[in-house]
Each structure stands twice: as structure tokens, then as C-alpha cells.
Point group: C2
Chain length 255, copies 2
């Protein structure tokens, strides 16, 4: 089995390294990942400038291709440089949950969606950060077990799952697995308004995302309760339910 | 009516300026847009660095707020700096179609989706580039007419439409309006593999996106036939059809 491993935290991120160490048991794992942190870059791609690449050795774990680009660039580029098309694409383990509104912003999830769009089965894996240092090796153990079960249950080409692992402080295992929809409740933004040394105004995001929602059937709620959450995602953004409303309009083209 | 106008081509882009000139007839229009070109930055947001802003006068058209950030940042920030919450958010007119796979990459569409996520009605407007110079004033005339019709038909808070205008060479008006789903067929990437002056390998995207698909009921097909396309979009990326398949798995948590 050929596996592509990528992420949005950069090729040296501890979550990716821990995931690599376990994924190597499952198949021949190639790492093509961003050279630098690409959190919250969503599904951005590089169109007009070159994508610089380097072969880099990370710890004693692997030698991979680092790309000065976005997570989705890495997936596209991997199709050019891997010896054959991967059988599975893993994105992560991300430092931080990708639930609720963050599904839209996440580069980790965008990489998995890009892979699915290209016709591959893909899984994004994210670890919620608690109040204690994250245990990436433990998270990778759990992730590998889940990846095996997902593979056995049949993840088809073009399908993408987003897996979120709870923070798992010592002695507190996850309560179970919940298949949960993405929470779509808006998260209130806050910005600090400041003035730079030259009198120019600037803004700095001060929002702290927390796992809180009043929608009990969502990824946000299940993760906050200590469950592993799994959310199947899609890349058809069409709102099919609204099509007929707009088809009923008697459109006129005269300005 | 208070309107927020943004885009991904930057605050001085001719498509935005032309749209502003017509939108001002519809309501009090505030421009909060990126300082620089942000094409293909998708739904990226700025979390760790400050968002620098400037008040800039563009042509003799308007004075707006330019933001050194992403299109979605502009929408979030506009909520902080507009005198009141907008009644409508317009993103565009983009230089280039946003159909098919480009729906995922587009900053124009991400800005509109962000607005919808924040509970506002939002419309993204994009103009397909033909072989002749684009006529933005004519595109803005048509866009305003469509915006009026959409408003009259009832665009609810949290709803987002993506409108694509055909290239409209002189004497060739659009054939009509089609409500069309997003084409989800993957687009083959191509890269040129090159070597830099120091012997380092790099890649440069050489893909040219064209309006071609074998799926006749999609945005790509309708736009290529010369229709205006309208696609209702959504920001819940959950693939609800796949939920039961994954709920049926007997998940084990032991690694």
C-alpha cells in the first residue's frame, strides 16, 4: 500500500512525525508537506509563483519532500513526484481540533479534500489541544487503529473523512467514537484595534476558539464531551436544496 | 440598504470599481477589500499576525478600507468597522470564472461564504475571461440587474449565491440564466519541473483551466454555452449521505 502523508503544520511538526512512525507499518509512506506552518490557509493554491521543493531528513524518522506552498499544493505536487498514485492520503496529525467553523479554514482538511477531489480516499486527522502537553505518539497509535478500521470498512476513492481526537490527558481515554455533522453555528469574532508606531490603524484577532455549542449532534459537541469524532466531508459546495427556489425565478437579462 | 463590497483581486481591481459604481445606486456601499491580489487563497484567514488597514481613494469612485489580509479577513473585519451590519454582501466582480473546481480555490467565493456563515445574505460575482478585453461596466450593469432580481426573489440571511457571467464579446449577449450545480469533475494538473540557478528543483503550474466538461447539468457546461450561471452554495461540508455507512461500523478504541 502506497500512502501519502501531508499536513498544514509543516514537515517537521511533531504530529506528522508521530503519524509517520505508525503509518510506516501500514504501507510505504511518502511525505510531501509544507516547508512552513500553513495553518488557516484553507484550500489556497499556488498559481503564479514557483513551488520550491527540498528533500529534507526529519529526525531519524523519514526523508520527505518539503514544499514552499500550501497543503493543497503538496497533494497536487505529490501526484507528480510519487512513484505511483497513492492508495490512501493522510493529512495530519494537526495540532488543534478541526471542527465547526474551522473545517472551512483548515489547511489540514483542505489537503484531504484536494486528495478526494483528485479521486483518492483521504483522511484528515486532528488532535484537540487540552491544558496539558499533547501526546502525539499516543494520538498516532489511536489514529492508526482508526485508519485501519476505516480502511476495513471501505473508504472509497473520492471520499474524505475528518477525524478529530480529544485531548486525552493521562488516564482519560476517549469515551467512544461519534459520527457527527459539522457544526455550522457562527463563532463570534473579536479583534483588538491598535495603532502602529506611525499612527496607522491595525487589527489583531483576539478570538479564542473553544468547544462550545448548543447543537448537541455536532462535531463540536461530541469532541467537547471527550469522544473521537468522524465527519464525512464533501467538495460539492452546491446547496441542492435551494436549487428549485432559484429555478422558479423568471430571470430577465436586460440590465 | 447597507452593502459590503469586497473581492479577491484587490481594492483597485477594475471589476470591483465597476461594481461599486452601480451598487451605489442600490444602497450605501462600503468597500473593505484586500490591499493586494488574493486569487486562489480560498478561505484562508489571518490568525497570528496583525491585519494592517488603510483608507484608500480609488479612482474617482470611492474611498474604502484596504486590508493586508485575505478576502475572508475583509468580511470579518468589515463587521467591526462598518457603521452597522450590512444587509447584503457582494464579492466581485472577479476577473475570471469561478466554476467547477475553482469554487474551492476562489477567494471571491470564500468571502461570500464567510459572510453567509456570519448570517448575512451574500452574492459572489465572477466574469469569465474571453479572448477580448473584458467589459467590466457592461458586466456590472448585468450584475446589478441580477442582484436586484435575487434580492426581490428573497435571498435569506446565511444564504450564498455564486453568479458567473459569460465573457460577452461585443454583440453577444448571454443566452439566458441557468441554475446549475458545481461541476465536481477533477481537472488534470500539469506542472513544469525545472531547476533553479543553484541546482534546486522547483515546479511551476502550467495548467490552463478551460470550460470543458462532459457533465451537461453543471456550472462549467452552462457557462461554456454562454449562459449566466447561478449556483446556491453552502458551508456545511458534511456529506450527510455517508453518515449512516460510518455509523454502522463497530468502532474499537484499543490501539
Amino acid at each position: 500500500m502506497q500512502i501519502l502523508l501531508t499536513n498544514d503544520d509543516g514537515i517537521t511538526a511533531p504530529g506528522l512525525v508521530a503519524m509517520y512512525r505508525r503509518l510506516a507499518e501500514l504501507g510505504e509512506t511518502h511525505v510531501v508537506a509544507p516547508a512552513t506552518v500553513q495553518s488557516a490557509t484553507s484550500h489556497g493554491i499556488t498559481l503564479t509563483t514557483p513551488l520550491l521543493t527540498s528533500r529534507v531528513k526529519v529526525d531519524d524518522a523519514f526523508t520527505g519532500t518539503s514544499v514552499e506552498g500550501r497543503p493543497a499544493d503538496c497533494v497536487k505536487l505529490a501526484m507528480q513526484i510519487m512513484p505511483k498514485k497513492p492508495d490512501l492520503v493522510i493529512s495530519g496529525i494537526n495540532s488543534g481540533a478541526n471542527v465547526g467553523i474551522n473545517v472551512l479554514y483548515s489547511g489540514t482538511i483542505a489537503a484531504a479534500i484536494e486528495a478526494a477531489f483528485l479521486g483518492l480516499p483521504a483522511i484528515a486527522i486532528s488532535l484537540h489541544m487540552g491544558n496539558h502537553p499533547p501526546n502525539y505518539p499516543a494520538a498516532a497509535n489511536l489514529a492508526l487503529s482508526l485508519i485501519r478500521q476505516i480502511h476495513a470498512a471501505g473508504l472509497n476513492p473520492g471520499q474524505v473523512l475528518s477525524v478529530n481526537l480529544p485531548a486525552m490527558p493521562p488516564g482519560v481515554p476517549p469515551k467512544g467514537v461519534k459520527i457527527a455533522r459539522q457544526c455550522t453555528r457562527p463563532w463570534p469574532d473579536s479583534y483588538e484595534r491598535r495603532t502602529d508606531p506611525r499612527g496607522r490603524e491595525y487589527f489583531w484577532v483576539s478570538t479564542v476558539f473553544s468547544l462550545w455549542t448548543i447543537d448537541p449532534d455536532t462535531d463540536v459537541a461530541a469532541l467537547s464531551e471527550g469522544f473521537v469524532t468522524i465527519t464525512p466531508l464533501e467538495f460539492d459546495l452546491t446547496n441542492h436544496r435551494q436549487m428549485s427556489h432559484w429555478r422558479d425565478v423568471d430571470w430577465k437579462l436586460e440590465p
